[in-house]
């Protein structure tokens, strides 16, 4: 097979794309945050994120978030193949802006919670969770 100029170009592009792959997860975590905040820089504090320091089983890690005065809270796992975890939208009858659930973590990583406040501001909290056995399969 002869390598035409077009083939060579395609190969080069493929190699460039492949070299970007490891960076993708972190980049898309930032994208997920930007999509939620609209580019506004979140302030530290105002939102509480509870997660275990060490999770033995990454398949089910209990986490809870609380942010008084928030309208929505997004949870992001920076080290997962898909960083989005969940978005909690609080309605008029929410008794408190808090929620607890169980999530999957692929490995030791930083979990981020960002709350959208009623006044339009954003608050951020993060915790590093050590995971003994990853929970995303693969």
């Amino acid at each position: 097979m002869r390598l035409t100029r077009r083939d060579a170009l395609a190969l080069g592009l493929g190699a460039t794309a492949a070299s970007f792959l490891p960076l993708r997860a972190v980049a898309s975590a930032e994208e997920a945050i930007a999509a939620f905040t609209g580019g506004v820089e979140p302030a530290e504090g105002g939102v509480t994120l509870n997660a275990p320091e060490i999770a033995e089983n990454g398949n089910t890690v209990p986490v809870s978030v609380e942010a008084p005065g928030a309208t929505a809270i997004i949870l992001i796992a920076t080290g997962n193949p898909q960083p989005g975890v969940a978005t909690f939208n609080f309605g008029p009858l929410a008794g408190a802006q808090s929620a607890a659930t169980r999530i999957r973590l692929a490995g030791t990583q930083e979990v981020i919670a960002i709350a959208k406040m009623a006044d339009g501001g954003f608050a951020r909290a993060s915790r590093v969770v050590k995971v003994t056995i990853g929970g995303c399969g693969g």
Partner: protein, 109 residues
């Protein structure tokens, strides 16, 4: 898949007017993330519940958008304000279009 999905909800039976109560919900669902592979190395297609909502007498309490990082048998705990007697309605939306529902009545004494 759809027939072994069973929602379980824990809501107090009575409350005082305006009281904030804690609700716990769990639904049995395998929440296939779409990242796992079977023994032949083929990717198992994603099949999750992607949304959960709770309403009281038609007013929204919480609306959760879920992604594959939510564990098998999704569990949620949250707080709701009860202004009057009525009914909580819980709805789960599956990727395959199925909708699972549960209702619980509560009496304000």
């Amino acid at each position: 898949m759809a027939k072994d999905v069973k929602p379980r909800v824990k809501v107090p039976k009575t409350a005082a007017a305006g009281e904030v109560i804690t609700i716990k919900t769990l639904i049995s669902h395998k929440m296939e993330s779409g990242n796992r592979k079977d023994s032949n190395g083929n990717r198992i297609p994603r099949s999750i519940i992607n949304r959960f909502t709770c309403d009281f007498n038609g007013q929204n309490v919480i609306d959760v958008e879920m992604q594959p990082a939510i564990s098998t048998n999704p569990f949620f705990e949250f707080q709701a304000k009860v202004p009057e007697s009525g009914e909580f309605k819980f709805t789960w939306y599956d990727d395959n279009g199925s909708i699972y529902e549960a209702t619980r009545a509560i009496t304000v004494s």
